[in-house]
């Protein structure tokens, strides 16, 4: 998911061309206070115009402790975005307030009720500590994400090259996300010219179980896709699992073994997910 500054028409027009899975149009940190209104208008025009290809489009609004967020929500929801990325979420209360505002906007602009998802950025120790409660506060919550700079500062840790300060937090968010049944998406890698560092960090969060990663520079997208793309061997194994499972189902068998390994429902789901990531649908196998 590529962050695009909401006040940069050039990026708003072209961001999707770099092939991210999603776009996050940023009205918060990328936009200075004096440009908030202009950025919102520009973002709304860009959203109305559309043309983002296959990208899922979300908007990062300003914090609920600011005077901008209600207008941000109205602008985003009125254009039918997939989701709202909410910064600095610290409690389920914040989620509920946002949920209510979104519901009103959905009603006002004739958007299907409940269709606008919420992505919660947990950028403080309090937010992280309450990750599960936040993730389950509303059915709109679809993902939780750790913060980067703000969180490190709140932890009084500072940002290291290796990301040591966020290691435990990432592990914790995975547990909370899975327990709550939402996605865990990782924060951005700030050093845009350090492809090797990005590769290391992405491999690490993928291994932890993160479903994706946010990016702040288009050049980071291929690196992340390369790591998240299943290998030929993984695709082949997944294909065989799905084939074996559908053959078993046809014969009325619940479970089946492949290469001496028990193939049950979670293994099949994993295999289907692998095929989906490779751009192959299970039906076509």
């Amino acid at each position: 998911m590529l962050y695009l500054p909401g006040n940069n028409p050039n990026m708003l027009l072209r961001g999707h061309l770099f092939g991210p899975d999603g776009l996050v149009i940023d009205l918060e940190d990328a936009v200075s206070a004096s440009e908030k209104d202009a950025a919102r208008v520009l973002t709304r025009e860009a959203l109305r115009r559309g043309g983002f290809g296959r990208c899922e489009v979300t908007v990062r609004i300003n914090g609920l402790d600011t005077g901008f967020w209600r207008d941000d929500v109205a602008a985003a929801v009125s254009c039918g975005v997939s989701g709202i990325r909410a910064p600095k979420v610290e409690s389920p209360r914040t989620v509920l307030d946002l949920d209510e505002e979104i519901s009103e906007a959905e009603e006002k602009y004739g958007v299907t009720r409940g269709s606008t998802k919420i992505f919660c950025l947990l950028e403080s120790a309090r937010g992280v500590w309450r990750a599960y409660d936040i993730a389950t506060a509303s059915p709109r919550v679809t993902a939780i994400l750790p913060g980067g700079e703000d969180l490190a500062a709140d932890l009084r840790a500072g940002r290291s090259k290796e990301g040591t300060e966020l290691e435990w937090i990432r592990r914790m968010l995975i547990v909370a996300a899975r327990a709550a049944g939402v996605d865990a998406l990782d924060t951005v890698f700030p050093r845009v010219a350090d492809d090797d560092g990005l590769r290391r960090e992405t491999a690490f969060v993928k291994q932890l179980g993160f479903d994706g990663k946010s990016v702040i520079h288009p050049n980071q997208i291929p690196v992340i896709h390369e790591i998240y793309a299943p290998t030929e061997k993984e695709i082949e194994t997944a294909r065989r699992i799905v084939e074996a499972a559908s053959a078993a189902a046809a014969r009325g068998l619940g479970a089946v073994s492949l290469d001496g390994r028990m193939i049950d429902a979670p293994v099949i789901r994993g295999a289907e997910y692998t095929l989906a990531r490779a751009g192959l649908s299970a039906e076509k196998v």
């Binding site: 027009l13 072209r14 061309l17 770099f18 092939g19 010219a193 520079h217 288009p218 050049n219």
Partner: protein
């Protein structure tokens, strides 16, 4: 007023250029030569004769017999570091010589120093590319006669056919000896290849080598032998090394350029030419160089190697050769220090003349052997005509360079550029100037994907699957042009007068387009 095969209106007579009837562009390969080459005056040097060496440029100008109204030529291998053009023109001005036609292979920003000499009449006509301050001067109609724009192949063709005569050629020589043997490989002003100077040396009536590095006879290796050279002018410095060679050429990190380059590279990979022995010219610009970087990855992945890289050579190409990804480099111009060092040391790095590189009227220029050419342009129109000469405001900005020649020679000619620069669309209904006709342009690549010239049905078929498999969309030209219009909004048309300030020749010497004076 007549309409040529590029659908451009050309007056039947252009003041200061001449009649155009029988000289209108007819098609990229329509015109063939007949008759014999032109030749320079014969001249003999006897044993123990007069020394060729003169003490200064001014003395050389006197000794050359240069008179008012004559044509002097220069090469541009010292690029923005060149002192020779400015020094020669200044010497002419001091000697009261005027009304000169200058015939450079290209001029650079550093040459704006001759503007006062243009205004005072020392220089009356320019045959060659103009840009920057001189381009502006010409575009505003400050020169009485129109500039004649020729590409790297068209220029030697014009000289060899007699269309353009050179009275005195001043050849900046990073190394020379007293017999007039010249090399660009060594010396404090080393520039590597001096390929653009060869034809001038062979065809000018008088040839003056201008050097700041006179070595004992004989030097080796020799690029231009002293048999062509009349005089050797020795001066303190022929150029500023900082302006002659650039630093290490790095691949851009600009995401938009990388995206365009990646699309172009995928098109090349999907084309039938991506096989062992592939040859390419990709130049030194940001996008073309990035295309080379992506192609390098693809070549490694697919296990293929190239036969040669052509044109202006950078350190990046030198690395490709060292890694065994191309076997040879054919170098008409060495852009950076790595290229200069390589051409001096490696016999697989071949110095070629502009004639050998690109002339359409010889027995086969190197461009004819090209598979792939990746080029830029300021505009491409819906007929795939490319404009590299004028800017969005109609002012002369760039020379033709090797654009026409590489496009005409290559089996797959790609123009790779963003759809817009700032707010200015690069894909337009009608190009302000046609430099290279759509007849020799096969594909346009922008950040929005690949647009293939419908003339190339074979190519469309070859890449039919690649839109889905490689995430590089195929975009029809009308869709792309509509998108450019939508993004830029209405543009103010460029307002020009009837007066012609430049004539662009196709490589065969026919008039492909004219540039008119900007209305102020």
């Amino acid at each position: 007023m007549e309409i040529n095969a590029a659908k451009r209106k050309i007056p039947s007579r252009i003041e200061g250029y001449g009649e155009t009837s029988g000289k209108l562009y007819e098609g990229a390969f329509a015109r063939a030569p007949s008759g014999y080459r032109a030749g320079p005056r014969m001249r003999a040097a006897v044993p123990n004769g007069k020394s060729k060496v003169t003490g200064s440029i001014k003395e050389a100008v006197i000794a050359s017999g240069l008179k008012s109204g004559m044509t002097v030529s220069f090469h541009h291998h010292l690029r923005n570091g060149d002192f020779v053009v400015n020094e020669v023109i200044r010497a002419c001005a001091e000697l009261g010589i005027g009304g000169l036609t200058i015939f450079p292979t290209a001029l650079f920003d550093v040459h704006k120093a001759i503007i006062p000499c243009i205004q005072s009449g020392v220089v009356a006509k320019i045959m060659g590319s103009v840009n920057g301050a001189i381009g502006k001067l010409v575009s505003e109609g400050k020169l009485d006669t129109p500039v004649v724009l020729r590409g790297h192949g068209g220029r030697p063709r014009a000289v060899m056919s007699g269309d353009a005569r050179i009275d005195v050629a001043f050849i900046a020589a990073p190394t020379a000896d007293r017999a007039g043997n010249i090399s660009g490989r060594t010396g404090k002003s080393a520039c590597g290849s001096i390929g653009y100077a060869f034809t001038d040396a062979e065809y000018a009536d008088v040839v003056v080598a201008v050097t700041d590095n006179l070595r004992s006879f004989p030097i080796s290796p020799v690029s231009i032998p002293g048999v062509y050279v009349d005089l050797v002018a020795v001066t303190d410095s022929i150029g500023d090394p900082a302006g002659i060679v650039s630093g290490t050429t790095r691949v851009t990190r600009d995401p938009l350029r990388l995206l365009i380059a990646s699309h172009a590279s995928k098109l090349i990979e999907a084309s039938p030419y991506f096989t062992d022995g592939i040859s390419f010219q990709t130049g030194a610009g940001g996008i073309p160089l990035a295309v080379t970087a992506f192609m390098k990855e693809a070549m490694k992945r697919r296990g293929i190697t190239g036969s040669f890289g052509l044109g202006g050579i950078t350190g990046y190409f030198v690395d490709l050769m060292r890694e065994g990804l191309v076997r040879k480099l054919m170098d008409v111009q060495s852009f950076d220090l790595e290229a200069v060092n390589s051409i001096s040391a490696d016999p697989n790095h071949i110095e070629i003349s502009a004639d050998w590189y690109a002339n359409p009227w010889n027995r086969g220029a190197a461009v004819n052997m090209l598979d792939i050419a990746v080029l830029g342009a300021t505009e491409v129109d819906v007929d795939f005509n490319a404009n590299v000469n004028t800017e969005a405001d109609g002012a002369l900005l760039h020379g033709i360079g090797g654009h026409q020649d590489a496009a005409a020679g290559a089996k797959l000619t790609i123009i790779a550029q963003p759809l817009l620069r700032g707010r200015v669309p690069c894909v337009v209904e009608r190009a302000h100037t046609v430099t290279t006709p759509g007849e020799v342009v096969d594909a346009l690549v922008t950040e929005f994907g690949v647009t293939i010239n419908p003339r190339r049905r074979d190519l469309l078929d070859a890449v039919a699957d690649f839109a889905i498999s490689k995430q590089t969309p195929l975009v029809p030209m009308d869709e792309l042009a509509a998108r450019a219009r939508e993004m830029s909004g209405p543009m103010e048309p460029i307002r020009v007068t009837d007066r012609i300030v430049a004539v662009a020749e196709w490589r065969d010497g026919t008039v492909i387009d004219v540039v008119r004076q900007i209305e102020r």
